[in-house]
Each structure stands twice: as C-alpha cells, then as structure tokens.
C-alpha cells in the first residue's frame, strides 16, 4: 500500500513512522523542515528559550541558595539562540534518521492533491513531481494568525515565528493575546530584561484554563512586573517605522495608548487548509476552514485522511501525533479510533501550568454535581527546598461517583505532574483511590495526594477550615 503524507510535523512524521512500521510504502512531503511547527517554530525552540531564561533566573537568585557570585550575570542572546538552534537541529536529525531507518521517502517541496490517487509536489528547485498513491494523509498544520490591519513585518510587528529568531533583546515589548503563546513569551522576555505589557481581549489570561489557574498566573505575571490588561480590544497600531515614531503605538478601545519597541501578536493560529488541493477533490471543510473528519480521521473522500491542526479542535502536538497513529493504522487496514476524552496540556510559563479533564465551570455546565480539592505547593517541604513555592493543585471530582474528572496545576513541574491526574481520569479512579496511594516523600507529587484528600476535607498538611 502506497501512502502519501503531506506535512512532516508532529502529526505527519508520526503517521509516517507508524505506517512504515505497519508495512506501508510511505512518502512524506514537507515544504519547510521535518518536525513542523512544534519542532522548528513552537514547542521545542520555546522550551529551549524557557530553559535559558530559567537558568538566568536561577543565576540571578543564587544567593538565596547560599551561593556567592562575583561578577555580572548577563544573557547573551546570540548564544541563547545558538543553543536553541542546536536543540532543534538535533531533533530534526533524529526524525530524518528515523525516516531513513524505516524507509520513509522524504520529498522536500509543497504538496498539492490532484486526485485521491495523485499528489503533485512543487519542489524547491521549481521542478514538479507527481506521486502516485493509494491513500493520502493531510497534515499541513497551522501558522500564526495575523490581524489584517497590521500584518506581521518581521521587524517591529512580530509573529511567534519571528520572536524565536529575534536578533536583540527588545527594551520593551507589547504582546497582543495573553493565551498560551503570549504568556510563555512574556515570561521569557521579561526574564531577559524586556519591559513587557500584555493586552488580552478576553476577561482573563489563559482563558481556556480553569479560572483559578488564570487568577494565579495573572498574579505571578504581576509579581514579575509584567503589565497585563484584560477585557480590552486593540483599536489600531501605528508606527511601523519605529525609528521615526519612537516605537510601535498601540491604541486600545478604552482610550489608552501603549508604546513599545516591538509588538508580538499572538492571537491564535490560522489553519493551513488553502492551496493544497482540497477543493479539487471535494474535501469538506467547516466554518473555520478546518477539515471535517470522523473518529477514524477519515475525510468525506475515501482514502484521504486529515490529522492535527488542520482538523481544528485543540491545536496540540500530542493530539496531532495520536491522530497520526490513528490515521496511519486505519490507512493500513488496522481499525483504530481517536479518543479525545483525556488530553493533558502544558503551558511553560513561570510557574508552569498543567491541566487535564474538565475545568470546574465546564463540569458545572454539564450538570455534574462536583466537589473540588485544593493544595498549595507552599505547604510542601520539597517545594521549599527547591525554592519554588508558588502555585497550587486543584482536583475537580464528580461528587456522586467520587471519580476524578479534572486536574489543574500551576506550579513547579506542573507539566509533568499533571500526568498522574490524566492517568487517574483515564483509568476512572476515584479521589479516594488517588488519596490512598502512597506518594513518595519528599516530592511535589505529594501535593496531588493532598489535593485528593482535600476533596473530602481530609488533607493532612492543611489548616483546619
């Protein structure tokens, strides 16, 4: 069976490897670099920058740990970027060598579906190649969405792609959009020494998270002296030629005017579902341009699958990868369905955020009778030893069945800790079962046990209520 995959991001490359493992003859078409947004312009490079900014933070606060420093501590942006690029290139090489190992044929160029059996590739050298195929997986991903009246210019009005390749640390930065991307960059740049102001249209930062998580991250941003304005729209932006105007001027709907050296627009992502031949074969799309698929990741056209960001939904690398495995399996004749009931998500702000399952308000909206438990990291010895006491763990439980239905964490290593919650939800564990399990001491995971105990008012390390 010949399978052609358009896009080698975390959806496409995983699908390619899975299909190759199942015996398919796989061709992958990629027009930038394997690894897609996640590896080249998203998850991985931002985490490399987060690591540098955290190292800087720790270095600046070494005295707290009893370590004396003589001399200055300064970030060197070009070296930080060099390190980031090396992290990325190591991962890129890793995917390329996996392709080789499994016999996946990588063609560099732009893929376009001509028919369900033919895909055309516009190669970088301007030649074209027609690939004959039995099945197709569309995995073309997404790109930073821009505001049409002030598009990205790469110099003063930046996308997240631009921000990852910035040449100097800006003195001041305005970020439009306090979602995942905006908040991560705010923490990175603030640590590097930039004065950061954020503007968010929604009433709270990271508005897809539980409101209590938003409250705490807003407070943590405030502690860092990052200015955040919520519930306010941007009316217009002026001063693209920053030298002439003293910077970028952002005018808000409430009459305020902000000025900064640079502007980062992180208002969401646009789906790459144009100019790839979807119309030619009649693939159905939804209102936002997303490709409509079923649980087997099949489009309405037989033999054509779609996975990842192009299908709308939650734009996460790990959901794309799982969908890739589902699509590849089905294409290879092994039936598999995509289950999105448990999707942990991580935000690499400082402190980190990790969440899975229902937010408190979502559970209430569903008419579930709920109980919640909370536990603060500052009540854990390990958090004090690490010098990272901010944040808390919140468990949302079904009061009738005692099952864990949501876990929301903000604090040190939240992105890793959340997986115990994910497993509890996936396995249908009760709060009592989680609380009864012995958790190692001294660890941050003890907080999950205590939060579970707190659902029934039984947390040991919490004052009497």
């Amino acid at each position: 069976m010949k399978l052609t995959i358009i896009g080698a991001g975390p959806g496409g490359y995983v699908a390619a490897l899975k299909a190759a493992q199942l015996g398919a003859q796989v061709t992958v078409i990629e027009d930038t670099e394997v690894g897609g947004t996640c590896l080249n312009r998203g998850c991985i490079p931002t985490k490399a920058l987060v690591a540098s900014s955290e190292a800087l933070h720790k270095a600046k606060n070494l005295e707290e740990f009893g370590i004396e420093v003589t001399g200055d501590i300064n970030p060197n942006l070009s070296k930080i970027m060099e390190r980031k690029n090396k992290v990325v290139s190591t991962q890129v090489k890793g995917i390329r060598s996996l392709f080789k190992s499994w016999g996946v044929n990588l063609i560099e160029g732009r893929g376009m579906i001509l028919t369900p059996e033919k895909v055309e590739v516009q190669k970088k050298d301007n030649t074209t190649e027609i690939i004959e195929t039995d099945k197709i997986i569309v995995a073309t991903g997404s790109r930073p969405a821009q505001i049409p009246i002030f598009p990205f210019d790469g110099e003063h009005i930046l996308s997240s792609d631009d921000a990852l390749n910035i040449k100097s640390i800006p003195k001041s930065l305005i970020i439009i959009g306090a979602g995942v991307i905006g908040c991560e960059f705010a923490c990175i740049f603030k640590e590097l020494g930039t004065e950061v102001t954020m503007v968010e249209m929604m009433p709270r930062a990271v508005s897809t998270e539980d409101p209590e998580i938003s409250e705490i991250i807003e407070k943590e941003l405030k502690k860092k002296k990052i200015k955040l304005m919520t519930g306010v729209k941007v009316e217009k932006v002026e001063g693209h030629k920053a030298e002439e105007n003293g910077g970028i001027h952002v005018y808000l709907a409430d009459g305020k005017e902000l000025v900064a050296e640079k502007l980062l627009v992180s208002i969401g992502r646009a789906l790459n579902t144009e100019n790839i031949g979807l119309e030619a074969v009649g693939i159905k799309k939804g209102a936002r341009g997303e490709i409509l698929v079923n649980e087997k990741m099949e489009t309405n056209i037989e033999g054509i699958y779609a996975i990842g960001d192009v299908t709308g939904g939650i734009l996460l690398a790990h959901t794309a990868s799982k969908q890739g495995i589902v699509a590849a399996s089905n294409a290879c004749g092994k039936e598999k369905r995509y289950d999105s009931s448990v999707v942990p998500a991580a935000i690499f702000t400082s402190p980190e955020i990790g969440s899975v399952g229902l937010r408190e308000h979502q559970a209430k909206d569903k008419g579930i009778n709920i109980k919640t438990g909370h536990f603060q990291f500052r009540a854990l010895g390990k958090a004090h030893a690490m010098g990272e006491i901010a944040g808390m763990i919140k468990i949302v439980a079904d009061a009738d069945t005692d099952k864990v239905i949501g876990v929301h964490i903000i604090g040190p290593h939240a992105s890793d800790l959340v997986h115990e919650g994910a497993l509890a939800i996936k396995a249908g564990l009760t709060v009592k079962e989680v609380a009864d399990m012995i958790h190692a001491h001294p660890t941050l995971a003890e907080g999950l046990m205590e939060a579970a105990e707190d659902v029934h008012g039984e947390a040991i390390h919490a004052p009497k209520k």
Partner: protein, 128 residues
C-alpha cells in the same frame, strides 16, 4: 498587645479612622499565623472595596490568604513599599506595615468593629 486606638474586624484586619479616611492593615495575630510574608497583591488606587469582601491577597511561605476589607469605600492610597518588602507587615503590622487607605462611604461602619479588648477575647475564643 493590640493597640487601643484602632478597631478590629473578625477577619483579622484593623482600621485606624480619621474623618472619612481609614488606614487598614492586618493584625499581629494574622501576621503571626501566616508566618513569613513573601508577597502582597496590593489593591489598586481608585478601585472600590466592599466591607467583608477580599481587597487584597497575602502570600506567606506557609499559605495564601485573602485580606478582607473591614470597611467599604474607595482606595486612595496603597503602601507601595510592601511591593518589594512585604516582610514589613511581619515586622510592624500596625505601623509601617499598613496596607491601604480607604476613603469610607459610610464612617459608621467603623462603629460596628471590635475594640482591642473584644478582639483579644475573640482570638482567644478562635484558638479554642
């Protein structure tokens, strides 16, 4: 000892009123219960607060705790020094550790609060 010239709220805040202006802070009992204070989320000037509701939040190494407004009104001044040195609250809760000045909507609200003697009996009762 809790000073005599100020009034106390059951949520462990205090008020020193002078005409319409009320300086507020947390009590010695509260700072001692919280332990080392590491951060205070100061209210913003010109915002309004309502008695018996949260006006600020304090974080210590042990806990985070809401600061409950003892009176209603508009914040006209905040103790900016606390932003960088919140430990002042531990050191001098009734003096340099004041949190904000509220211009009261209704000065008679102060009359409903406890005096030092009542407050001391109240915390003894709470401790039981």
């Amino acid at each position: 000892m809790n000073p005599d010239n100020i009034k106390y709220h059951k949520e462990h805040t205090w008020v020193k009123a002078s005409g319409k202006k009320a300086t507020v802070g947390i009590t010695d009992y509260a700072q001692d219960a919280l332990g080392d204070i590491v951060y205070i989320d100061l209210p913003e000037v010109d915002t309004t607060v309502e008695a018996n509701t949260e006006m600020s939040e304090i974080e210590s190494t042990k806990a985070t705790s809401a600061v409950i407004a003892p009176v209603s009104g508009t914040i006209i001044e905040v103790n900016e020094k606390l932003a960088d040195s919140p430990e002042i609250i531990n050191e001098d809760p009734y003096g340099k550790g004041w949190i904000a000045v509220i211009e009261m909507d209704n000065e008679s609200e102060v009359d409903d609060l406890m005096d030092a003697g009542d407050y001391e009996r109240y915390i003894e009762e709470e401790a039981k």
